[in-house]
Amino acid sequence: MVTNCRNCAGRLVFDPSSQKLVCESCGSMFKPEEFDISEKEELLDKKAVSMNQIQGTDDKDFMDCYVYTCASCGGEIIINGTEASTACIYCGNPAVVFSRIARHKRPQYVIPFKITKEEAVKIVRERFWQGRFIPKEIKNFKADNVRGIYIPYWIIDCDHKAAVVVKGQVSSGKSSRTAYFGRAGRLKLRDLPLDASKMLSDASSQRLEPFNLRVMKPFDEDYLLGFYSNISDITYGHLRNAASIRCEEYFNEAALKDVSGASRKSIYTSKSQTSIDYNNVRYAMLPAWFVTYEFKGKHNTILVNGQTGKIVCGVPWNKVKFFALLILTGIALTVVSYFILNPILNALFASSSGRSSSNSNGKLVAAIVMGAISLFTIGIRKIVKVIKSIELTQAYSIFNFVKKRQE
C-alpha cells in the first residue's frame, strides 16, 4: 500500500536476501531509496483512530485498540497502540501506519532484515537437531507463527560513575575471614542499544545483542513492508533506569574481577550515577524473527536476530533421558571413585598415628567433601539457569507481543 510496483501496481515487500523491494505479482525489484518521499507523505493524514472514539465509549477493553484504514482496499485494520506496520486482513497488503512514524516519532535509522523467514526457521531447526536433550517432537517442530518484527531501540552514549564495596573471603593462616575492598571508577558506554518497547521484556531483547550498528541505514518506511513493527513507548525515566541497570551490571562485573586474593566475592554496597548524553540519543528499528511453536500445551517463542541469525531461546528438555543418564553416570563414577579412594584413604588412616597425620587426613576428607559440594552447586546453578531461560521462552508477555497482531 505504501509503495506499489511501478510496472504493474502490484504489492511490494522488502526481500532480505536481495535487500530490495520485490513485487509479488511481476517479480520486479526496486531499491527502497528509489521511491520519492513525497509519495509517502500523502499518507500522513491516514491516522489510526481509537476504538473508543469510533464507538463513542470509554471501555477499558478497547484501550489499546485502534482502527486504521487500508489504503489499498479500504478495509479496517485493528492495531494496538504502538504498532507501526502490519498486514491488511482483507487484501494482505503490507500496511504502514504513517502517522505513527511521522515527524517527531520517525525513527532515524533502520537495520534491514538480512535473514529471510525460511532461513530463520532453518537455522532454528538445524540448531535443535544438535541438542542432546531436546525432545524429538521439538526437533520436528511445526511453527505456528513466524513473524518478522522491527523492534524499536534507543541507541545511547552514557557515562557511569560508581563506588562499590566488594565483600570476600581471604585466607589468613589456617582459617579464613571476611574482608572488604573498595573500588571506585568510571565507565563510558558508546552505542548502547536499549529496547524501547514496554511490551517486550528487556531480558529477551538484551539477549538478541549484539547488532552490527555500523551498517545502520537512514530510516525509510519501505524497509517495513512485509514486516511488523512497533514504535517507542518508553519515557526518559524508563530509559535512565535501563541504562543504569546495564552500566551497573558491567561495572560490578569489572569490580569483582579486579579484586584479587579473595574468594566468594559479592557486591556489598554500591553507589552509582549514570549520565546519558541527551545530545546523541538515536532512534532505530532493529530486526528480529519471532518463531512460535506449541509443546505440551505451552507456547514457546524463539527469537532470531534478523541481522546476524543469532538464536535466543530455552528449549524444554527430555527429563527422563537427562536424569537416567545422570544417575547411570553417577553410579559409574561412584564405583571408579571408590576404587581410587579406598586404597588411598585406607593406607593414610592405617599409617596415621601422630596428630599431624590425622590433621592431613582430615584435610583430605574435607577437600573431597568441598569438591563434591562445589560440583553439585555449579551443576544445579547451570540447571536453574536453563529452567529460567525456558520460562522466558514460554513467558506469556513475549507470546502476547507476537500474537496480538493482524494475521
Binding site: L333, S374, K385
Partner: protein, 95 residues
C-alpha cells in the same frame, strides 16, 4: 572405614555427573544466553580508587564525595516525558 569411602566416592561421583550433565544440558537447551558484553560498547572500566581490606568505618563511607548526585540531575528531561531523538529534543526545548 569402607562406609566413609563409599559416602565420599558417591558424593564425588554424583557431583561430577551433575556438573557434566548440567554443562551438557546448558549447551544443548539454553541457546543464545549471552547478552552484549561491556567490551562491545566500551573500552572497559577505569578505576580511580582501589582500597583493599578496608575497615568498617571506611567501608560505610566509601565513595562519598566521589559520586555527586547533582551532576546527573543537570539538564535531564523529565522522567515521565516520552523519549524523543536528540535533534527533536532540542527542537522541543527551543520551542
Amino acid at each position: 572405614m569402607n562406609f566413609l569411602v563409599l559416602i565420599l566416592a558417591s558424593g564425588l561421583g554424583f557431583g561430577t555427573a551433575c556438573f557434566i550433565f548440567a554443562t551438557l544440558l546448558s549447551n544443548s537447551n539454553d541457546i543464545g544466553n549471552s547478552v552484549g558484553s561491556a567490551s562491545t560498547y566500551s573500552g572497559g572500566v577505569v578505576f580511580d580508587r582501589r582500597e583493599d581490606k578496608i575497615s568498617s568505618s571506611v567501608r560505610d563511607s566509601f565513595g562519598v564525595g566521589y559520586i555527586r548526585g547533582d551532576e546527573a540531575n543537570r539538564m535531564q528531561p523529565a522522567s515521565d516525558r516520552m523519549v524523543v531523538a536528540s535533534e527533536r529534543l532540542r527542537d522541543q526545548d527551543e520551542s
